[in-house]
Each structure stands twice: as C-alpha cells, then as structure tokens.
C-alpha cells in the first residue's frame, strides 16, 4: 500500500519501546507486542462486499470492522475454545429490543463508539453499510437475505444512536445473521467522499483502504504477501487485543509454513493440513476443532440412474470404508459421522448416520436393487481439494469394487468444479464439503437438501424435506414443534441418502508462542482474543 508512511510507522515503533534508530524493526519480532501468523491462502481484497473477494479476505471484515452484535465464547467438551452460536453479545450496539411480533429489532448504539478517524459511529453509518450489503449483489446480498434482510427500506436510522430493522417475517436467523462477517459497519462519511457516480458504494476505495471502527487498523497491505494489522486503542467493541501489531504472512507451501512455526519464527500457523496437525501435535500446541455444520460427504446424484434406486444408495452407504477414509484423508482429525444410533433423540447436526462398513449388508442391498450385477460409474473430485478428496476417492473406488460397482475417479480442475458440481449438478457421484455459517440443521438443509440450492449437488428433491425445511428455517429453536420436525427431516435424509456423510472435518491451527485461540464458523483467524504464550 503506497499510502503507508514510513516516518509515521517509525514514530509509532519508537513509541512502543522498540529500537528507535534502526530503519528496521528488531529482527526477532517476539517483543511481546507483535504477533506473526502465516497461512496458505491469499487476501485479495480488504472489502468483503466486493464481488470476487475470496474467503481468506473475510478476516479483514472480522478484525478491522465491527458489527452491531457478535457471538460469545464457550469452552467445547474437548477443552478447545470456540465462539458460541447461542450467545449474542454487543459489539457496536449497546442493547437491542425485539418487538413482540418479532418484526422489529431496535438497536441502541454505544455512545462512545468512534471510527478510526475519530468521528462518531452513528445509526446513519449502520444504515448506509446495511444498504450496501443488500444492494451490492453477489455473496453479501445472498447472506443478508438468509437473515431476512433484502431491501434498504427495511433499515431506518431513527436518531444518531437508534437503528431499527424491520423484518417481513420473524426469524431465528435474523440476529445471528447480523453477527456474521457480512453486515459490518463502514464509516459512511469517508466512503461517500470516495464514491463516484459509477461506484456509489465506494467499492474501489474500500477495496484497498478500510474505514471502520474495529479492533485493528490495516497498517500495511502488500497484496499477495502480507497484511499488517495495528491495534486501535480506542476500540469499544470488546476487550482490547493483547498485541499491538499482528502480521499475517501468506506462505503457499505447507512445508515452509511448518518449518516456520516449528522454529518459532512465527507464532501461529493457521489452517494447517490434517497431516501436519497430527504430526505436530506432540511438539506444539495444535488446535483441531471440528468445523460446525460442515460435512465432508459423498453425494449420489438422485436424478441419474443407477442412483435413482434407493437400494443402490444404501449399498454404497454400507460399502463405504469410513474408518479408512477418516484415518488417511483426515488423519483422524475431526469427528466421525457413521455408526450412530438408529433412534433419533436429539437435534444435533452434523450427526453420525446409522451406517457402518458392512459388506454383507451392502451386497444384500445390491442384490435387491435393479443392478444386482453392478455397474460402472464416475466419481468426481476437485483438483483444488485433492488433499482429502484423493485418498477418500481411491478408498471408495477400492471398496465399491467389492460390491460390483466399477468406479473411475475423475479429477476436475478447480476453475470448472463449482460450475459442473454445484451449478449444473451434472456429476453422477462426487465428494462435497459444504459447511453452513449459521449453525442450525435447517440452515444446512436449506442449502444442501432443498431442490435447486447451490450445494444440493445430489439433485435431491423430496416434498416433505422441502416443506419441513421451509417450516423450520425461521422457527425459534425452543418452539415446541421444532425438535419433532427436525427429527422428521433427519429420518427422511438418513433413509434416502442423497448425501452420505464421511466425517466432519477439522480446522487445524498450530501455535508456538501464542495463546487464546478461538474457533469461528467463518474459518478465519480472529486476531482479537490472541495473547502471548502463558498470558
């Protein structure tokens, strides 16, 4: 970023008690003020709303911007820390009230909240930012709609500190959807000053120059190399981060990242491969958290023969070598999703399906089906995700041969994968990895089991599932009917098997000299709670 000013930086470095007269920072950055993290992806924009912004860039929305509300934190049974989907906490909003009909949410903003330039955060800024999210098109607009926000006229700035959202229908997803990275609050005065006629939402400007109120400012962005965050000491959204500065370096090679974190030259290696996680677990602190509402699944296209035959789908489910896949594709990281109870007593999701590797059962179902002599089929995988798809596909290929299904593995280039797998839905049999941000089973069903939805790669369609999903999607989870309806949905898809769950993947993070890691559904590094080791 060319706007970066060397002199200002040196002054701040000196102020922070670092060596004042060098043209470089101290060689070892472990002064307690600076945290160095590496990851393998690349941040391609500082503005989540821009079309084309990739997943890795969402971390800027998290670390540099505030939302009205956020999620709380909880300790998982494994001892890991995680965000808590069930607890909504204030971020820029001080308090909120929901009307009795559930159609109006009134937020009171924190009176002392300021943007980085010192100006006050007003309801007008919130309105402008929300208008932008629902009007920008593409991903932000789709995600906003999940919470019931689709038009600018739903948002109203009543006065400087009062912001009102009007909903078309009450939904349990509305408030949580305001805590995901998308509805972040932008300094609208700065943005408008840099907007043009062709670019009313200042996409061009905010792409490289964030203007927010968040815990960190972007001090420097060398696209394709690194992002440097600097703490905003005036942050009121939560507890002030422990680190003055957080450096995020992009290192594509997993081997290099591993060497860096093992040597302790970086403190956090984010999203490391399962294999490295299992090998480093003895030497360093490795956090492996099963990703909420995410399933690595084998999808069978229910529109194409022979998978139109329910017995064939059952045979495949019984022939799948779950244990071997979990060991060699996931290195035992994550959670098992097979061998569960037949009886459904709770609404936990993802949940183990009641199938295990049982070749006798598989053969019995094959014999009952319309294809007792087996058939030929192509199993497609994405070249971008070979690390888990390749071993899983080869094991499935080997196992299916046992029941007379002759599988050919087809590797599809990443650029084409989404088109053929998710948009055209033209693949017979494929591996898929959808995960939903909003952690409710109905939200998963909405994207993966309802007809025509992007992640319904199996082309599944079942009138009851359609109806039950629509019915439960916005229903409060403590509604007396909720659990019963959800169980019905579970029963149908467990019986129908358009998607055979293989396992729930884990997000792995290796730490060497840092602490305070929290898992988040968005699978990006939230730098705000991180602390030094032993702190």
């Amino acid at each position: 970023m060319s706007s970066f000013n060397r002199r200002a930086f040196l002054a701040s470095a000196a102020g922070a008690g670092m060596l004042p007269f060098l043209r470089v920072l101290p060689a070892t950055a472990q002064t307690g003020d600076t945290l160095v993290t590496v990851f393998g992806q690349t941040i391609n924009s500082l503005d989540l709303h821009r079309s084309g912004t990739n997943r890795a860039s969402y971390q800027v929305a998290i670390n540099c911007y505030d939302r009205l509300v956020g999620f709380g934190a909880k300790q998982l049974p494994s001892g890991e820390m995680s965000y808590d989907y069930d607890v909504i906490v204030p971020e820029l909003a001080e308090s909120w009230t929901i009307s009795d009909d559930g159609l109006t949410i009134t937020f009171k903003l924190k009176p002392n909240a300021t943007f980085w330039d010192g100006s006050k955060v007003t309801a007008e800024d919130v309105k402008w930012s929300f208008d932008r999210a629902v009007s920008a098109g593409g991903f932000p607009t789709v995600q906003m709609r999940a919470g019931g926000f689709s038009r600018p006229d739903q948002f109203e700035a009543v006065d400087a500190e009062t912001f009102v959202v009007k909903l078309d229908y009450p939904s349990k997803l509305s408030l949580p959807d305001l805590a995901v990275p998308v509805p972040f609050i932008i300094n609208s005065a700065v943005a408008k000053a840099n907007a043009t006629e062709d670019d009313p939402w200042a996409m061009e400007y905010l792409h490289t120059t964030p203007a927010g109120s968040g815990a960190f400012k972007v001090m420097r962005w060398d696209q394709g190399q690194q992002l440097v965050y600097e703490r905003n000491d005036a942050w009121v959204g939560g507890d002030l981060p422990a680190f003055q500065r957080v450096i995020v370096r992009e290192v594509p090679s997993a081997a290099t990242r591993r060497a860096l974190v093992e040597r302790g030259d970086v403190q956090v290696s984010f999203d490391i491969p399962d294999r490295d996680a299992s090998e480093l677990a003895d030497k360093l602190t490795v956090h492996s958290t099963p990703i909420e509402n995410c399933i690595h699944a084998l999808c069978l296209n229910t529109k194409f023969a022979p998978f139109t035959d329910p017995d064939v789908r059952k045979a495949v489910a019984y022939a799948t070598p779950y244990d071997a896949i979990f060991e060699s594709a996931a290195y035992g990281r994550g959670a098992k999703l097979w061998g569960g109870d037949t009886e459904i007593t709770d609404t936990a999701w993802p949940r183990p399906f009641p199938y295990t590797t049982d070749l006798d059962m598989a053969r019995a179902h094959m014999a009952k089906s319309g294809y007792p002599d087996g058939f030929d089929v192509t199993l497609s995988i994405s070249l971008d995700l070979v690390s888990w798809m390749e071993p899983a596909a080869l094991l499935i290929q080997e196992a299916m041969a046992e029941i007379g299904i002759n599988v050919t593995v087809d590797r599809i280039p990443g650029a084409n994968w989404r088109t053929v797998a998710l948009v055209d839905k033209s693949l017979d049999m494929l591996l898929e990895n959808f995960g939903g941000w909003l952690n409710t089973p109905d939200y998963y069903f909405f994207w993966a089991y309802q007809e025509g939805r992007l992640f319904n790669a199996s082309n599944y369609s079942h009138p009851m599932v359609e109806e039950l999903t629509d019915q439960t999607l916005h229903m409060p989870m403590d509604h007396p009917d909720y659990a019963g309806l959800i169980k019905q949905m579970f029963e149908i898809v467990i019986e129908d098997l358009p998607r055979i769950p293989l396992y729930q993947p884990a997000l792995n993070v290796a730490m060497n000299g840092a602490d305070g890691y929290e898992f988040w559904f968005h699978r990006q590094l939230d730098a705000r709670p991180l602390t030094g080791a032993g702190a």
């Binding site: 060397r6 930086f9 060098l22 043209r23 470089v24 920072l25 060689a27 950055a29 160095v36 590496v38 690349t42 391609n44 821009r50 079309s51 084309g52 912004t53 990739n54 997943r55 098109g137 593409g138 991903f139 932000p140 607009t141 789709v142 995600q143 999940a146 792409h207 490289t208 060398d222 696209q223 394709g224 190399q225 690194q226 440097v228 450096i247 370096r249 992009e250 290192v251 594509p252 090679s253 081997a255 290099t256 060497a259 860096l260 093992e262 040597r263 030259d265 970086v266 971008d384 280039p413 990443g414 650029a415 084409n416 989404r418 088109t419 998710l422 948009v423 994207w447 025509g452 992007l454």
Partner: protein
C-alpha cells in the same frame, strides 16, 4: 547512426503480427477454458440470481465479439483490464510481480553462468578428468532434482537445521521496509537508496531461491558450453591457430571460447524465458510474490484479464529477449549482421 537503428526498428515492426496473434489466441483460449468466472466470483453462497448479477458486473453477459472489441479498445489505450481476483489493474499487478520474478531469475542465471560456463570449459579442455566427471554429476543432479524438492531440502538444511538462512518469507523479512521503488529490483533499489541493511536483507532472502533455480539451470548451460567448446576445439581454425604458435590462452579464449559462445547465448535465452514462467514451484516454496504463481492463481480462478495480461507480457518479453540475443550475436561474431536478413 540512423542506418544502425533501422534494422532494429524493422525487427520490432516484424513483431507486430506476433503480438496481434498472441492477443487473439490468449483471448480465445481463456474463453475456451472450462470454468465459469461468474460462478467462481459469485462467492461462497450463491443463488442463480447472484451468479447472474456477477456475470453482468464482470461484463460477461455480452457476446464474445463484443467482449473482444472492448478488450482491444482498452488494450490500445495501454489498459490490460482489471483482475477480478486482485481487484487491481492487471498492469499494476504485473509491474509489482514481474520485477520479483526477474530479480530471482536473473540472479539465478548469473549464479548459474558463473559456475556452469567455467565448469563446461574446463570439462571440455580436460576431457575425462575429474572436472569432467564433476560436471557430469552436477548436471545430472541438477536436472533430476525437481526445483521444489531442492527448495525444501535447502530450507530444511540451511533454515530449519542450521539456522543460517533467514525465514523463507518472500523477498524481504517483515522487519524491513520495501526500498523506495525505482526499478522494482530490491537489490538495486536499496543500493540507490543507500540502505545497505535492506540490501543485505534482500540478498539473504534471495540466496536460497536463487541457488535452487541456479542448480536447475546449471545443467543445460554447462552441457551446452562443454559441447560447444568441444566442437570449437576440434575445428580447423584452432588447429591453425595452434600451428601458428599462438599461446594456449589466446587459442582457448580468443578463438575457441568466442566461437563457442554463440550456442551458449542461445541456450541462455531459452533457459531464461523458460525459467521465468516455470519457476512457480520455487515461488510457492519460498513465498516469492512472482509472476508464475500469479498466473497459476489466475488460471485456476478463470480470471480472464489476468491470464491475458500475463500471456501478453510474456510474449513481449520473449520478443525482447530474442532481439537482445540477436544483437549480442553481432557483438560476438561480426560476420553476423542484421542487414543481411
């Protein structure tokens, strides 16, 4: 003086059809590739509407000839378009990434030449001696070890085990600032700035990746030098020179080496253009922000403008390198001239 430049100008004019061809082919090829950019850039969660919105935003709803006209019009104004993935003009992307690749490739080639050419000459002069065998071993090892393997091995030994090399984190460790940009070459810019600390920092970062690439390029250069020297040494004019009683030194460097240089320079040009585009693996291992990884990323995401820009830049670079090589022929061997085309 004007007559000297005329042939060069003529050569440049000759490249115009080539460039036009490259523009058309790169445009058609990117469109012919499977993969829909609108789907790619519509984001994680997408609906048919949001994919359509993205398609319109990217201008991909227009017909192909229309898109081509728009592309050509922009190209004539020096605008290579905008990369969707990086959100920046392709020209900006290339101008930050090309110097990084050039710096790495050139350093590696200089390093490689410093070793390979003397080695090749010695191997030819002392055929069958230990130098010849050493040359053979190095050459075989150089080509048979893939660059990413050599790279990881060097990192393992010199960074992980010995701790001599700095963290393999790209062009400069995060403790340094980029030198003020003049050429885009950190080594040169830091010297221009008089900042020797940054120069040392950049040189340290450059060492391992440059050695990795140098090992890989050693083979063709050393082999070609050896072969060319052998041919030259066994030719008539060398016999004559020796018979005329010239010193061995004069014979070797004045006659044999000068004649052997022609094929070596040709090889160098080829190796250079090959390595520049093909060092993706080295870039990935050392987190080097070069042009190779940029192109691969762009290709994987069907980022049309970026791919086209990359292909065009490489084509222009090829043309330039070929011109430089042709010019250097005339310097090495006065018998070759441009006028006799």
């Amino acid at each position: 003086m004007a007559t000297r430049w005329l042939p060069i100008l003529w050569r440049l004019v000759q490249t115009i059809p080539v460039v036009i061809g490259v523009v058309i082919i790169s445009f058609v090829l990117t469109r012919a590739l499977p993969g829909d950019p609108a789907v790619q850039f519509a984001g994680q969660m997408a609906t048919p509407e949001s994919i359509e919105q993205t398609r319109v935003a990217l201008g991909l709803d227009k017909s192909l000839p229309q898109q081509f006209l728009i592309y050509c019009k922009a190209l004539l104004q020096g605008d290579l378009g905008r990369s969707v993935a990086t959100g920046r003009p392709v020209l900006t992307d290339l101008s930050t990434r090309l110097p990084a690749s050039l710096e790495l490739t050139l350093t590696a080639l200089v390093l490689s030449c410093l070793i390979a050419i003397p080695l090749g000459v010695l191997a030819a002069v002392r055929q069958g001696s230990w130098v010849d065998h050493l040359c053979r071993v190095l050459v075989t090892a150089g080509v048979s070890l893939p660059t990413f393997f050599t790279g990881i091995l060097l990192i393992y030994v010199f960074y992980y085990l010995l701790g001599w090399a700095p963290s393999p984190l790209g062009r400069l460790d995060f403790v340094y600032f980029d030198p003020p940009r003049v050429t885009g070459f950190f080594l040169i810019d830091s010297v221009l700035d008089g900042d020797l600390r940054t120069f040392a920092g950049a040189a340290k970062q450059l060492a391992l990746p440059a050695i990795t690439l140098a090992l890989f390029t050693l083979a063709p250069i050393a082999r070609m030098t050896r072969a060319a020297m052998l041919t030259a040494l066994s030719s008539d004019y060398i016999r004559t020179a020796r018979a005329a009683g010239l010193t061995p030194r004069k014979v070797l460097f004045g006659y044999a080496f000068r004649n052997a240089l022609l094929p070596v320079v040709t090889t160098l040009g080829m190796v250079f253009s090959f390595v520049l585009g093909a060092n993706v693996l080295v870039e990935k291992v050392f987190a080097w922000p070069g042009i190779g990884s940029y192109a691969v990323e762009a290709l994987v995401q069907s980022d049309y403008a970026a791919v086209q820009g990359f292909v065009l830049a490489m084509a222009l670079l090829f043309v330039l390198i070929n011109l430089v090589i042709d010019l250097s022929y005339t310097l090495i061997d006065p018998r070759i001239g441009f006028s006799s085309k």
